[in-house]
């Protein structure tokens, strides 16, 4: 049973269940629609790259449009809904279907005035469906304070999914929750989902345990001097790196070095930009001698730029997840996470990042997150919330000294490796970031103790 208000995505979920069944699992399906004609339904889901017409032509899906119109029906005595059973049975047998959708079953209540008969017949229908050995998705309208308007969830014993579409702070989010799923331990949270061009996508669920493998190999940061500060070998592959610093401290430049180095190794990268357009970023990086355009042309570097306010937090996460699934990169940069902060509360952002990091870690993707700190004094506290999620934390700060403003780089922590504890001065030149501090090799070797 899938319930939800109008526009919550019930029909889509049901359609996708049939389409995927027919195209990916070799299970044919029957779609009994009570609300939309075959033509309307086909047109509606065509925008989602589902070609129902073709599947109907191949006899993989049968659609039966059941039109219920009370004005046409005069009730004159005892009746049952055997006709519905016969139609369904006929459709199932005609293609030996394994999947059935009834969308939206509530339409029957508008068509027939005797709820007693209807309830009895629906209970019989659900039992009958089970006896047929088919998996049935039945959609129902949400009621006031109840899961479904007509309490249909009482008849369905196996699984109940609730879809919800709400708007918080002008940002709309779709959510999905499994109320009941007999015989399985299911997640009980609300999971955000998106309706994209390829159908419904639910977010990667937070890994329940921390069981991802930790790769041992290391990747260069793109700067030899910085590699040297990190035990001479750079970051761990699959680790999460936080680059935090005030405005203009070169966070994006440092990220560009890392991306450039990854592309040189022939690895694919996805760069999420929330502040500027890719062309502007490429131009700015070219001015410091890093040519990223060549990598975008060769297909190694993919930019995804979006204004943070355009989407809800979960939608960002889904979009990022989608981009990562598509490109399958070795390196991901999120520039910057502050922009995500503007969309949600700190807790929500932390939860979102946690899910993203879990997902990246399981896929062994090295991820760099940049974070803008408000002022020098607060730079460590503002990132407090998320720093625990990060394996390596590099602070970039402006240091005033003898009337001059210098930039200093500091490895605040780096799990699992000896690293420098020196504030190393650096400059941003027309050939990239240059670390100019005293040679860090002499002063490293200290393990992070957490």
């Amino acid at each position: 049973m899938v319930c939800g208000a109008a526009g919550s995505g019930k029909t889509l979920l049901a359609t996708e269940f049939l389409v995927r069944g027919a195209t990916e699992f070799g299970e044919r399906g029957v779609f009994m629609t009570f609300e939309e004609s075959v033509e309307d339904l086909t047109a509606d889901v065509a925008s989602l790259s589902f070609d129902l017409a073709a599947l109907i032509a191949q006899r993989k899906i049968v659609i039966d449009y059941v039109r219920v119109n009370r004005h046409e029906i005069e009730e004159t005595g005892e009746y049952d809904l055997e006709g519905l059973f016969i139609r369904l049975d006929h459709a199932i047998k005609s293609i030996r279907a394994k999947r059935v959708v009834l969308d939206t079953i509530d339409a029957l209540f508008t068509g027939f005035s005797n709820p007693g008969i209807l309830r009895m017949e629906l209970a019989r229908l659900f039992r009958w469906l089970k006896d047929q050995g088919v998996t049935a998705v039945i959609t129902g309208e949400q009621g006031e304070g109840t899961l479904t308007r007509h309490g249909l969830e009482e008849y369905v014993s196996d699984a109940v999914i609730v879809l919800d579409h709400r708007v918080d702070d002008q940002v709309s989010t779709r959510r999905l929750r499994i109320i009941k799923y007999r015989g399985s331990s299911h997640g009980t949270n609300e999971y955000p989902f998106l309706i994209g061009w390829s159908g419904l996508s639910v977010l990667p669920i937070t890994a329940l345990g921390l069981q991802h493998e930790a790769p041992l190999d290391r990747v260069s940061t793109g700067l030899d001097a910085l590699d040297a500060m990190l035990g001479s070998q750079g970051f761990y592959r699959g680790s999460s790196i936080l680059l935090s610093g005030g405005a203009g401290t070169g966070k994006s430049s440092l990220a560009a070095h890392f991306v450039d180095a990854a592309c040189r190794r022939g690895e694919r990268c996805v760069y999420f930009l929330f502040e500027e357009s890719p062309s502007q970023y490429i131009r700015n990086m070219r001015s410091i001698g890093i040519d990223l355009e060549a990598w975008t042309k060769s297909g190694l570097l993919h930019f995804h730029a979006a204004r943070p306010a355009l989407l809800g937090l979960e939608q960002h996460l889904v979009a990022m997840h989608g981009a990562i699934e598509e490109v399958r990169p070795a390196v991901v940069v999120v520039d910057s996470i502050n922009d995500l902060m503007s969309v949600g509360t700190t807790n929500a952002v932390k939860a979102t990042l946690l899910r993203l990091i879990d997902y990246l870690k399981t896929s062994h993707v090295t991820a760099v997150f940049s974070s803008l700190t408000a002022g020098d004094a607060h730079e460590q506290t503002t990132d407090m919330g998320i720093s625990s999620l990060m394996d390596t934390w590099i602070l970039l700060r402006a240091v005033e000294e003898k009337g001059q403003r210098h930039r200093g780089l500091y490895v605040l922590k780096s799990r699992g490796m000896p690293h420098s504890n020196e504030v190393t001065r650096y400059t941003i030149t027309d050939h990239g970031v240059q670390l100019v501090g005293r040679s860090p090799q002499h002063r490293t070797v200290k393990r992070t103790i957490r």
Binding site: V66, R67, E74, E75, E78, Y79, L84, D89
Partner: protein
């Protein structure tokens, strides 16, 4: 066109959808037969369709409930569900008496 004129002018074409010989369908057929004789004289034909034998016919007339009586002629098409035991409602449904 008045009811009487239409009654006289057109032959009634009725279809009764059933699913096997259930008590409800037997009652419905008996009720229908009686009513037609009283109201329409001999000017009618009844086609009984057993959906257990011809399930493919159910979608054409949008049949869900059993028994369903469909008045195909005279047009417009009318649909009546149930065992037709409520004669008054059947007459209303078939447009044989004006709706109150």
């Amino acid at each position: 066109m008045t009811q009487a004129a239409r009654k006289g002018a057109e032959r009634w074409n009725l279809r009764l959808y059933v699913a096997g010989q259930t008590p409800k369908s037997i009652t419905a057929f008996a009720n229908l037969k009686k009513l037609c004789e009283e109201q329409l004289g001999g000017n009618y034909s009844i086609e009984v369709i057993d959906l257990l034998k011809k399930p493919q016919l159910a979608s054409g007339d949008q049949i869900l409930a059993i028994p369903t009586l469909v008045r195909r002629l005279p047009s417009p098409m009318k649909k009546i569900i149930g065992d037709l035991s409520n004669t008054e409602r059947v007459l209303v449904g078939l447009d044989l008496v004006p709706k109150r």
